[in-house]
């Protein structure tokens, strides 16, 4: 009797790229719910626009590159990019900026390098950085979170969101509804010679957990991150290193000069910290690849984030920190190859 032959091994575990990507989307749900509850329905619009744009761009790019589009679209990776970009931008972003940013993320961040697995930069952060540099006003206009000002209602925020989404002029009558984020306000306040304790006493900026609005989102993102750790989609090295790289210098600085530096816990629950630590920095394609390399990579992201937040010109630093460390990945990978079994220990 004759048989087919095939190379060993003849069994695999049945893991797949979609099985890595879709849990990531699922893990974003808690943060998304909190986001919608505190900042209005803008996130849902951003996610929808980004997802449609991302899928369309991926399909187009694959067609140009003469690849099978159906298979690649189903792998879920481009949706992760879309979701992360949607979470990173303000919920008040006009739709065409979202389209522009997402297209930049997918086309310039991913497909010019050869698609899935080839991109040296985190695609979502490429899109975010281009948007932030090109449209700083639109990108930094956030709704005042509902936990900061009880006078506003969610329905008002919904109307405002739709107005901005279609690019309407919302200057009249909506003054108190938008503003800078907590991190941005604190940075501006420190520039204006307010002391940090003064800023931290402001009820509209700081709540029981830290930054208004964002602290709760960070908490929810931490829950989602814990789920990813538990599912072993993400391993602990990068998130822990990012948090340590951010919190350790923050703690030391705030201990040395409490009047000028935010503490470690405040930093950890402000801005996009948890989203960055668990969802953005952990993109395996653009991250360092060995365990030790990932510790360096994550620590670098945390440290650069802290530096940008403390002395930089931008309110948050996650995106630039990730992109900068992406550049360092080949170097990190080169110097963090683990010792091979049977080779001498140094």
């Amino acid at each position: 009797m004759r048989f087919d032959t095939a190379p060993a091994p003849h069994v695999i575990g049945g893991y797949s790229v979609p099985r890595v990507m879709f849990p990531v989307l699922l893990a974003l749900v808690p943060a998304g719910m909190v986001h919608v509850a505190l900042f209005g329905p803008g996130l849902l619009l951003q996610v929808a626009v980004a997802s449609v744009t991302a899928l369309a761009c991926e399909a187009a790019a694959l067609r140009w590159r003469k690849r099978d589009a159906g298979v690649a679209l189903r792998d879920g990776s481009v949706l992760v990019t879309a979701f992360l970009l949607a979470f990173a931008v303000t919920p008040l972003l006009p739709w065409w900026l979202n389209v522009f940013g997402t297209a930049a993320a997918v086309l310039l961040g991913k497909h010019v390098f050869g698609g899935l697995g080839q991109n040296p930069f985190n695609p979502a952060m490429v899109g975010y950085a281009i948007l932030l540099v090109a449209f700083p006003v639109e990108m930094t206009r956030w709704p005042v979170p509902l936990d900061a000002d009880s006078a506003h209602s969610w329905a008002d925020l919904a109307r405002l969101t739709v107005l901005y989404f279609y690019g309407g002029d919302a200057s009249g009558g909506w003054d108190g509804y938008t503003g800078a984020t907590t991190l941005d306000s604190i940075r501006n306040g420190l520039d204006l010679r307010y002391t940090l304790p003064e800023m931290l006493e402001r009820d509209d900026l700081v709540g029981p957990l830290g930054a208004r609005g964002f602290a709760w989102i960070n908490l929810a993102a931490l829950v989602g991150g814990a789920y990813l750790l538990w599912r072993r989609i993400v391993r602990w090295h990068i998130p822990v290193a990012v948090l340590a790289g951010l919190m350790v210098p923050a703690m030391v600085a705030s201990w040395l000069d409490p009047g000028a530096h935010l503490g470690g816990l405040f930093q950890a629950f402000a801005g996009a910290t948890m989203l960055g630590a668990f969802f953005i920095a952990t993109d395996p394609v653009s991250a360092a690849t060995s365990d030790r390399g990932r510790l360096w990579y994550g620590a670098g992201i945390g440290l650069i984030t802290w530096v940008i937040r403390t002395w930089g010109g931008y309110p948050d630093g996650i995106a630039f920190a990730v992109l900068l460390m992406n550049v360092a990945v080949p170097l990190i990978d080169r110097y963090t190859v683990p010792r091979i079994y049977g080779h001498p220990r140094d």
Binding site: M1, R2, A6, A8, P9, H10, V20, V71, G117, V337
Partner: protein, 498 residues
């Protein structure tokens, strides 16, 4: 020195071992015909010492060790050699020269075979010579000559014997069955091996998913009052049975890269090898039979069979109740490292511990795997028992980056297949690494050949030059002599003119 009982990384796999162990080992009668591959799985062919048409008896030597790594081969039935030809075989190339013997139905035993109750009086060198003549090889799957391994161990002064009863690969349970039924033989083989090594201790390493085997081995050691022999129970983790991983689990030491376990004072032998040695002592038979697991969803009654080497695999499947459902692949070995064979006419080889008749269900999802680009998740690196970064090796292999491949340890890959198992992009990594290794090996061979040719050419040039020079000297000397004589004799010689 007791190890940490654990090697780094690895993975717990679904074992698929229960069914064959419900039955005792089935003794398969002599088949009407055997196909003895000169390469029994070690990758090197032995040299035949019989010719077409020769009559042979059960136990007669039909091939002697040839290239390093090959071992003596014996007729496993009595009859006539009907062909010595290249056939499909369970070897890396897929082929081997095979000696085909047709039975005369008498099953005559070679009169030269004799038992060796006197083995304690043999010195280690004599034992090694005897084991080499008996064609004893590693029955765990490598078919490496035991004698060569013992010599290497003795040269390096290894004093500890590890008997490998880990049997970590899914589906395979022939060692488990052997330990349950013939632990005393394994113990006797251990004594012979210890004597050949002048070893002072022996550890029988068995994974904890084989409680009956552990119990039988312990009982056997206790009953014999054997000293220096202990049973060590290891957690069942693939690839525990890989030699280097086993050495680390048992002793805590790492075998140096591309080195021998003997360099850390250990030598490993499979429990089935020990049992084969015991058979040689007790019955005088060289390596003529082995226990093999015949299993998979494609056979009716999975079981362990003791069969003669060279028995066509179809006869083994027959012993297991024949084919069932739709067998897609016939795999020699387990599902992680086994070799898929093209035909069941191939003869049982010493290296075959398992014949896995796999249906689609056994091969899913590998058989419908869809390869995507590597996303560098690094899951492969977390399970790699060699501590490699398969994702980086993969990248280097794609780029044909030789120095990258070497630097990242392509030669340290033990081909366990775990990187494939966990890869979410379903990349056939192990296959890629094997291919990269063979390309490098070919290039190394070509480079060696080119160097040798260049050196030969240069040597020839020097030789010719020297010969020419010597000839010139001889000619000059002769001329000087001739001229000297002439000048003395002749007044009109050049010096004497003017």
């Amino acid at each position: 020195m007791q190890g940490r009982n654990r090697f780094p990384a690895g993975l717990v796999l679904e074992s698929h071992k229960q069914f064959p162990l419900d039955l005792p080992i089935v003794e398969l009668p002599a088949p009407p015909c055997v196909v003895l591959a000169l390469d029994q799985g070690s990758g090197r062919e032995a040299e035949p010492v019989v010719a077409n048409g020769d009559r042979v008896a059960f136990g007669s030597t039909v091939a002697r060790p040839g290239a390093a790594g090959s071992a003596a081969l014996h007729a496993t039935i009595s009859g006539r050699v009907v062909a010595i030809e290249t056939r499909e075989a369970a070897t890396p190339s897929g082929h081997s020269t095979c000696i085909v013997i047709e039975s005369d139905g008498e099953d005559r035993r070679d009169p030269a075979l004799r038992t060796h109750p006197d083995y304690p009086s043999l010195d280690p060198d004599q034992l090694v010579v005897a084991l080499r003549a008996a064609g004893i090889v590693g029955l765990g799957g490598a078919a490496f000559p035991t004698a060569t391994k013992l010599e290497a161990a003795r040269a390096r002064g290894a004093r500890k014997l590890v008997l490998n009863g880990a049997e970590c690969e899914p589906w395979i349970c022939c060692d488990d069955a052997l330990l349950r039924e013939q632990a005393a033989d394994v113990l006797l083989g251990a004594h012979v091996l210890m004597q050949a090594l002048a070893a002072d201790s022996c550890v029988v390493a068995i994974e904890d998913d084989k409680p009956h085997a552990i119990e039988a081995m312990r009982a056997s050691v206790a009953a014999a009052g054997a000293t220096g022999i202990t049973v060590q129970v290891l957690p069942a983790i693939y690839p525990q049975g890989a030699e280097r991983q086993l050495v680390t689990a048992v002793t805590g030491d790492e075998v140096p890269s591309r080195g021998w376990p003997a360099e850390v004072g250990v030598t490993c032998q499979n429990v089935a090898t020990a049992a084969a040695i015991a058979r040689w002592v007790l019955t005088g038979e060289p390596c003529l039979t082995r226990v093999v697991t015949v299993t998979g969803s494609g056979v009716a009654r999975p079981c362990n069979v003791r069969a003669r080497i060279g028995t066509p695999l179809a006869a083994l499947v027959e012993a297991a109740g024949g084919y069932r459902d739709t067998p897609l692949q016939l795999i020699a070995g387990g599902n992680m490292t086994g070799r898929a064979l093209p035909s069941d006419g191939i003869g049982l080889a010493k290296a075959m511990n398992c014949v896995l008749v796999a249906t689609r269900a056994d091969l899913e999802p590998r058989i419908s795997a869809f390869e995507r680009p590597c996303i560098r998740c690094g899951d492969c690196a977390t399970v790699c028992p060699a501590g490699l970064l398969p994702q980086q090796l993969h990248r280097a292999a794609r780029a044909d980056d030789e120095s990258g491949l070497r630097g990242l340890g392509i030669w340290d890959c033990i081909d366990c297949g775990l990187c494939d198992y966990v890869c979410p992009s379903q990349i056939p990594l192990a296959y890629r690494f094997r291919s990269a290794q063979s390309v490098l090996r070919e290039r190394e061979a070509a480079a060696r050949k080119a160097t040798a040719a260049r050196e030969r050419h240069e040597r020839r040039g020097r030789r010719l030059e020297q010969a020419a020079l010597a000839e010139q000297h001889a000619f000059d000397a002769a001329r000087r002599r001739a001229l000297g004589n002439d000048t003395a004799a002749r007044p009109d010689a050049p010096d004497g003119t003017s």
